[in-house]
């Protein structure tokens, strides 16, 4: 199940979201639980292929808990209510910790190392090790905790250090954001004070615009490309 959990989003779709993926992860456990009853196996697989969503790393926790409930013979209605109850929190907790904090902080570490002069291998290895340390722990811990706790897994989730970890990652990310942004300005070369002022303006624009800066940057670079072709001989 742990290995299959790495592919839980393999059939992501707009109808059941990761429903088919969850059933795919659960199949080994369901085959074991219903090894003597093919009809109930088919019913269980069908029930778990219905709508479900969670952060992919925490989906392992749901899978572990569901496998435990099926093994304990819990009624299908209770399992369905459990799935509906946990899917929202598993999604929002994972999104906030991993996508919003951990991944940007680790990516900024990689960029900062590279701009500070480290080799690509070192920067890439630092990113992959730091990011996947949490990633792999979340999957393995989630599956184990889900299997151990079953219906009580919500308590384990509340006690997990996700909030604190997210706060620390956010702090580190903010430092690395400022550090790497200044080094990126330096990468453009030494063009004196006017360029330094432009660099400061770029940082201010980035902070003010947030994620929308991607569209502004794309438009600015496209305009620069056009201007560079149209005005090649002007001083």
């Amino acid at each position: 199940m742990l290995l299959r959990s790495f592919a839980v989003q393999g059939s992501w779709n707009y109808r059941t979201l990761i429903g088919t993926g969850l059933a795919f992860v659960l199949v080994p456990a369901l085959r074991h639980v219903y090894r003597d009853d093919p009809a109930r196996l088919r019913q269980a697989v069908g029930r778990h292929a219905e709508l479900f969503n969670a952060h992919p790393y925490l989906a392992a926790l749901a899978a572990g808990a569901i496998a435990r409930l099926e093994a304990d013979g819990v009624p299908p209605e209770t399992v369905a209510r459990f799935k509906a109850a946990v899917r929202g929190s598993l999604g929002s907790m994972g999104d906030r910790l991993v996508w919003l904090m951990w991944r940007p902080a680790c990516a900024l570490l990689m960029v900062a190392l590279l701009l500070a002069g480290a080799g690509w291998w070192i920067a890439a290895a630092a990113f992959l090790v730091a990011y996947n340390a949490l990633h792999l722990w979340m999957r393995a811990w989630g599956l184990d905790a889900g299997w151990r706790e079953g219906l009580q897994v919500a308590r384990t989730l509340r006690e997990a250090p996700f909030e604190r970890l997210g706060e620390r990652a956010g702090d580190a990310g903010a430092v690395l954001s400022g550090f790497s942004a200044v080094l990126a300005v330096g990468w453009g070369g030494d063009h004196g004070w006017p360029y330094a002022v432009l660099g400061l303006a770029a940082l201010a624009a980035g902070i003010a615009l947030g994620p929308r800066i991607r569209w502004v940057a794309a438009a600015a670079l496209t305009a620069l490309l056009a201007a560079g072709v149209v005005l090649p001989n002007n001083p």
Partner: protein, 222 residues
């Protein structure tokens, strides 16, 4: 430049695998633009070129959040295409770098649309009928969807390589004012990197300022 056929096929394979890594299988983040472009640069024989493309793309994609059903650009295959095509350009060609970065932004957007198409297709082809279903059927549908995602990623990568490679091969005879390019790319990257503060919250501005001060100190020491 369009790579040789064996390299082209290897880059297509890499693009397909990294498309899987982004969502469908693994999510080890090998598909981050800086990793993807570095690997593509190595395969194409110009790791330094791939890294330069990669760091710019990484900065611009930093704040993209792959949350739920949100629309977002797909960075991995586009980064492979941009770095793979840029690898054959002359090292000093700032216009090739600029074109590669701008092209990658468009290619990433198209890659994101192809992900949406695949998810709509999966809704028809990867969801078993309601009611009891064989375990083998679920496994087959799921693995087929993963195969489709791999092919989609490889096709996006190869199409990007061919289009961008053709564009870069025509650049040699287009006059271009080069000296603007590097500072402009650097300022865009700096703005994009600074924008990530919004992810962490503006209340962390003092930490951002401390990091910026450390950066200024490092630049001064150099």
């Amino acid at each position: 430049m369009i790579p040789e056929l064996p390299t082209l096929l290897l880059l297509g394979l890499l693009g397909g695998l990294l498309a899987l890594d982004a969502t469908a299988v693994g999510q080890f983040m090998l598909s981050r633009p800086l990793i993807a472009a570095g690997l593509a640069g190595m395969l194409a024989g110009n790791p330094e070129g791939g890294i330069v493309v990669g760091v710019l793309l990484e900065a611009i994609h930093l704040a993209v959040l792959p949350v739920g059903a949100a629309r977002y650009p797909e960075a991995g295959p586009a980064a492979v295409a941009a770095a793979g095509a840029f690898a054959g350009a002359p090292a000093s060609s700032q216009v090739a770098l600029l074109v590669s970065v701008v092209f990658m932004l468009g290619c990433g957007w198209l890659g994101g649309r192809s992900v949406e198409w695949m998810r709509r297709t999966n809704a028809r082809t990867a969801v078993p009928p309601e009611g009891p279903v064989d375990a083998g059927t679920v496994e087959r549908l799921h693995l087929r969807a993963i195969g489709l995602d791999f092919v989609r990623g490889a096709v996006v990568t190869l199409a990007g390589l061919l289009v961008l490679g053709t564009i870069l091969e025509t650049l040699g005879w287009i006059p271009f004012r080069q000296q603007w390019t590097r500072p402009a790319l650097a300022l865009c990257a700096a703005a994009a990197l600074a924008s990530s503060l919004r992810l962490f919250g503006r209340r962390r501005m003092p930490l951002f300022a401390a990091g910026a001060a450390a950066g200024v100190l490092l630049l001064w020491l150099r």
